[in-house]
């Protein structure tokens, strides 16, 4: 019985050898994401995305003729854990490059180490502080929260809104979003007249919403947060019967939000990454191709359309492999330079144009699409 088991395991491992010659030294891609913990919303699809597409790349022959090897860990949403895992990937697992970090807190903890070690990193963390000030070895794929705020304020301005109430979560994403919103809101002629917060684990935000509603002059409400709390805010907003329009951030750009918020989400506007509305995009949209390719492959394997968070990992992987091909070797300096030289790269979340001053590379136009929830699904708003 045991012998049979051993034999089948052996046969199985031989059969599943990649198309590329197995004696070639693999390219080691190190990653840690928040697959569990408060940010598992982000990290779980990212882990799945990396695994799926590294498999696909290997089946097509790998990069530079060599297979990719993924070494992955779970930082559980804890920053200290992230730093130890980065150290482990670099020193122990001998990673060549890193694609890591679902949350800003986690990746910022590892950044000093990454800069000291001089290893290229593309991260999926969202806040502006990751690339501002620019760090030589750190690049990121997601749009910044500041860009999301700007997209929202531009839409508000078009609707003639000049006074808003802001309600945000006190977690990292919400706090950073609030800070960036307050920093740029004046540029659009809008004033924040009410500023409320709640804890991420809170279960009822009626109190805060009531205070916003009672502030005179409020014309719209902006909720900046991710996870389940914005769904609760949306539900409370609907049950309180608040008439002013509600805007959400890109933190809820996923179908899960529609499920949780239900009919309360009707009429809510938010900026979303192209991947979410890929099927609705016009054919000449530059993101349509990559977004559809990613979405369909992910849906086929995992049974559901991916969220933007998974797409960040997809773009990170594609950018990294593209840079390695252009660098032509595994020399870390060459790879880093190649990433920085990326021009007009059509990703699933936007077009990337990196430079020494800009390690994110996305523009406002290409990275977000404004949508409104109608009849329980996304409707693209024309620009």
């Amino acid at each position: 019985m045991l012998k049979k088991l051993a034999a089948s395991v052996l046969l199985g491992s031989l059969v599943s050898a990649p198309a590329v010659a197995a004696d070639k030294e693999p390219i080691r891609i190190g990653t840690f994401v928040s697959a569990t913990g408060p940010a598992s919303f982000l990290g779980d699809p990212q882990a799945k995305t990396l695994q799926l597409f590294i498999e696909q790349i290997n089946q097509k022959g790998g990069v530079l003729g060599r297979p990719l090897q993924l070494i992955h860990y779970d930082d559980q949403g804890q920053a200290e854990q992230a730093r130890t895992l980065a150290r482990r990937l670099i020193a122990q697992d001998k990673a060549d490059v890193l694609i890591a970090g679902s949350t800003t807190g986690a990746i910022m903890a590892a950044v000093p180490l990454i800069e000291r070690t001089e290893i290229p990193l593309i991260t999926m963390a969202g806040a502006v502080v990751v690339v501002e000030p620019v760090k030589k070895w750190v690049f990121k794929t997601p749009e910044t929260d500041r860009m999301a705020a700007e997209k929202i304020f531009a839409d508000m301005k078009r609707r003639g809104i000049s006074k808003i109430g802001l309600i945000s979560g006190t977690g990292g994403f919400g706090a950073s979003g609030r800070k960036e919103s307050l920093a740029v809101v004046g540029n659009y002629g809008i004033e924040v007249v009410a500023d409320e917060t709640y804890a991420p684990s809170d279960t009822d935000m009626s109190a805060q919403l009531t205070r916003i509603r009672n502030t005179p002059g409020v014309q719209a409400i902006l909720n900046f947060d991710f996870g389940q709390a914005p769904a609760i805010v949306t539900r409370n907003y609907a049950s309180l019967g608040i008439k002013q329009p509600l805007y959400q951030s890109h933190g809820v750009a996923s179908n899960a939000f529609l499920e949780l918020a239900g009919s309360a989400a009707e009429g809510v506007r938010l900026p979303v990454s192209p991947i979410l509305v890929a099927k609705l995009l016009p054919e000449n949209d530059r993101q349509k191709g990559p977004a559809m390719a990613y979405g369909e492959a992910y849906e086929k394997r995992f049974g559901e359309w991916p969220s933007a968070f998974g797409a960040y990992a997809y773009d990170a992987l594609m950018l990294m492999t593209d840079a390695i091909e252009r660098a032509g070797s595994l020399d870390r300096v060459k790879i880093r330079d190649a990433i920085e030289a990326t021009k007009n790269f059509h990703g699933a979340t936007g077009n990337f144009n990196m430079s020494p001053e800009d390690h994110m590379g996305l523009s406002l136009e290409s990275s977000f699409r404004m949508v409104e929830v109608r009849n329980g699904t996304w409707k693209l708003l024309e620009d």
Binding site: F41, D44, Q228, I232
Partner: protein, 291 residues
């Protein structure tokens, strides 16, 4: 003005009722075994999550909720049999670590079986908000408060009027004397843990339509429930209910009138203040120490 106050009150009483249910679970187990069950929050999680998945597999909502509550009771018994009974002769602190480990294990199982996403349970009787004197009440809030009242009334009847209930109370006052009177303390423990599991699951199922549920929801709820139990005096049932309500309402008032930033701090500042003036909680038993 009054409408605002009423709105905060509604919010506070709703969440306070949940804290009360969790606190009752803590007190029941504490009375039976002098153990703080750090897995109490996971009973709440289990109640909500299993209701969601039973519903998704085709069972109608009322039956799903009932089954979920029963699962909670079963889980409570399992925790006792597998975790507490084998270590029954230990000091309280190792037992607490066992419950911490059990909580972790339960979260681990939940995340594997049910995934890490958030799930919603439909409201029991619809989503039409009810207006009352300018404030807005969700029907589910009424379910929460109503269920808590019914549960508390049933418990009061159970502990004061039935033999088994009185036996449990007797064991909590003086275990040795109770044993001498022929009370089977093992049975007492089983019933107590089953009750605590049941209470947790009820709380989880009835609040899931409002707060959504996911594998980690038990952590903060368990902690706040523990605070509520200590606030009211650990081991006191009226204290647990009072503690839960006081905590819920104070939090809501704090968030409404002062600052939502430090809302979570309310629980902990409150506990420090109360303990400073009343070292055994609001209704806690003054214990005499034998020297």
């Amino acid at each position: 003005m009054f409408a605002e106050f009423l709105q905060y009150l509604v919010t506070g009483v709703t969440i306070g009722a949940i804290y009360a249910l969790v606190a009752l679970g803590f007190s029941i187990i504490f009375n039976a075994s002098h153990v703080i069950n750090f897995a109490q929050g996971e009973f709440v999680m289990l109640g909500g999550m299993s209701a969601v998945f039973l519903l998704a597999s085709g069972i109608p909502l009322p039956a799903a909720v009932l089954l979920a509550v029963l699962c909670g009771a079963v889980l409570g018994i399992a925790l006792y049999k597998l975790g507490i009974a084998p270590a029954r002769h230990s000091d309280p602190i190792p037992l607490i670590i066992i419950t911490i480990g059990a909580g972790l294990a339960l979260r681990g199982i939940a995340q594997i079986v049910w995934g890490k996403g958030f799930h919603s349970l439909p409201a029991f009787s619809g989503n039409e908000p009810i207006g009352l004197l300018g404030a807005v009440i969700m029907p589910q809030s009424l379910w929460v408060v109503g269920t808590t009242c019914v549960v508390v009334a049933l418990l009061a009847y159970f502990f004061n009027r039935t033999r088994l209930g009185k036996a449990i109370l007797a064991t909590s006052y003086n275990r040795d004397a109770a044993q001498l009177m022929g009370i089977n303390t093992d049975m007492i423990m089983i019933v107590s843990f089953a009750l605590a599991g049941l209470l947790g699951a009820v709380a989880g199922a009835v609040v899931a339509p409002i707060t959504f549920t996911y594998y980690e929801i038990g952590v903060m709820l368990g902690l706040k429930g523990f605070v509520a139990a200590v606030l009211g005096g650990l081991g006191s049932f009226p204290g647990a209910v009072a503690g839960g309500l006081v905590l819920g309402v104070t939090e809501a008032m704090m968030a409404g009138y002062i600052s939502s930033h430090y809302k979570d701090a309310v629980a902990f500042v409150l506990i420090l203040l109360i303990l400073f003036f009343m070292p055994t909680g609001m209704f806690g038993k003054q214990s005499a120490e034998r020297v």
